[in-house]
């Protein structure tokens, strides 16, 4: 049994953590984190209002591309974008091959109800498996990136980000929306300009590592074509809209259930849309000794939007059948996972 903070769910293996005599972790003791967050949210609210007013006045076919996974958070964000902010949204879904049928049913129901156009992009099965396997078994990303996300999730999200940016540029859409919460993303990243040239440089090393373990073909999924880059006059703005809402998971589910959203049963407690998550979390725990959702859920607990016991249940849910099915599908053995866990420790 891992030692966990007595107030949040961060465990003893989390980088840089210390505990006081009462078992309270250093992150909970640093109250300035919450103050910084509140200041960042207040600033982002103003930025979003100004941005959306400007965007809506420009009379485009679409005001925003929404990264829509079909999970609870992105469903609620899409609902907010359309109903609360009055945006004309084009939603985008990456089908990684591990999306439950119930999730696709949710996507269809919700986009139909909200009158939203949806694009589904499904990379070829061989390519996707190769990316997942390389991300799971090799040290592609730096350890600090992986404090808040598993390696495989990071690859998937990078593909989603790139493909949505591509759609935004091709269709002249000024805003990209996502349903990430604070904890999943850093506090100053609620609203930011998606300056590809600036940010891409920081990804070159990991992209090369991923390329080395897969092939040159990954550029199609992770690199913006040069002709698109050349013609950019203004990069789209990324908005993590859900960060502005003070709402609990229960309240989110209650709201989106009214639209017909139903939780899939074949996913773990940390995901409401992807079976791969349970596999990713297990590998991450084997490699680093903690669940990649600990940081995000702890932040939600500190804000009083989730109780600690539910948080622990979420990160300690084990779905051996789902894990085995995915490991078999990817042809990953237990020995390979043990080897992977040693790679980051080198």
């Amino acid at each position: 049994m891992k030692k966990r903070c007595s107030q949040c769910i961060l465990s003893e293996n989390f980088p840089g953590i210390t505990f006081d005599d009462q078992g309270v972790c250093s992150f909970c003791r640093d109250k300035s984190f919450l103050q910084t967050e509140e200041a960042a949210i207040s600033k982002a609210v103003l930025q979003v209002d100004e941005l959306f007013d400007k965007v809506k006045a420009s009379e485009r076919t679409y005001d925003a591309v929404m990264l829509y996974s079909g999970g609870k958070d992105s469903t609620y964000t899409l609902y907010q974008a359309v109903k609360k902010y009055g945006l004309k949204v084009l939603s985008f879904t990456l089908d990684n091959g591990y999306i439950p049928d119930q999730t696709f049913s949710n996507i269809t129901k919700i986009t139909d109800q909200l009158g939203v156009d949806n694009i589904i992009f499904r990379p070829s099965n061989n390519h996707m498996k190769s990316i997942v396997k390389a991300s799971a078994l090799y040290p592609i990303y730096n350890k600090r990136t992986l404090m808040r996300i598993s390696s495989v999730c990071n690859s998937c999200i990078s593909m989603v980000n790139l493909q949505s940016l591509r759609i935004a540029l091709e269709k002249n859409i000024p805003v990209i929306l996502a349903g990430f919460t604070l904890g999943q993303i850093p506090v100053n990243s609620i609203v930011y300009r998606n300056n590809y040239n600036f940010l891409e440089e920081s990804r070159l090393k990991s992209l090369q590592l991923l390329r080395d373990h897969t092939g040159q073909w990954i550029d199609n999924y992770f690199i913006l074509p040069e002709e698109l880059q050349r013609n950019v006059t203004e990069w789209p703005t990324m908005v993590n809209l859900l960060c502005l809402e003070k709402i609990s998971e229960d309240e989110i589910i209650r709201e989106i259930s009214k639209l017909g959203w139903t939780a899939p049963e074949d996913v773990d407690g940390c995901s409401s849309n992807c079976q791969l998550n349970t596999f990713n979390n297990y590998i991450h725990d084997q490699v680093f000794g903690y669940n990649p959702y600990e940081l995000e859920l702890s932040q939600i607990i500190r804000k009083g939007l989730l109780d600690r016991r539910t948080g622990i249940e979420k990160v300690e849910t084990v779905m051996p059948d789902v894990f085995k099915k995915i490991a078999d599908d990817l042809e990953i053995s237990d020995d390979e996972i043990i080897t992977a866990s040693r790679q980051y420790k080198k």
């Binding site: 940010l199 440089e201 920081s202």
Partner: protein, 84 residues
């Protein structure tokens, strides 16, 4: 010079606190990305931080390695922006 040190101290403090790294582990004249301290989100964060902390506006054309390539380059960039 004093101004340089103050900017540097605040930047280093921000990096240490947000990326859980010790002050001694930061090589001031090397890229924070290359040192594995920050990723692309980190660049976004630092850009947001220097704008709010030092009351400057960073133009898109200024977001490059010449200005964001290391702590020392960031210090120099902030100093130039504050002076302009």
């Amino acid at each position: 010079m004093e101004d340089d040190l103050m900017i540097q101290e605040r930047l280093v403090q921000f990096v240490c606190r947000n990326y859980i790294v010790d002050k001694e582990d930061i090589i001031l004249d090397q890229s924070l990305v290359d040192q594995g301290i920050i990723d692309s989100f980190g660049l976004v964060e630092i850009s947001g931080f220097i704008q709010s902390e030092f009351q400057i506006i960073v133009a898109e054309t200024e977001m490059n390695r010449a200005n964001f390539g290391s702590v020392l380059k960031l210090v120099d960039f902030v100093k130039r922006k504050k002076a302009s």
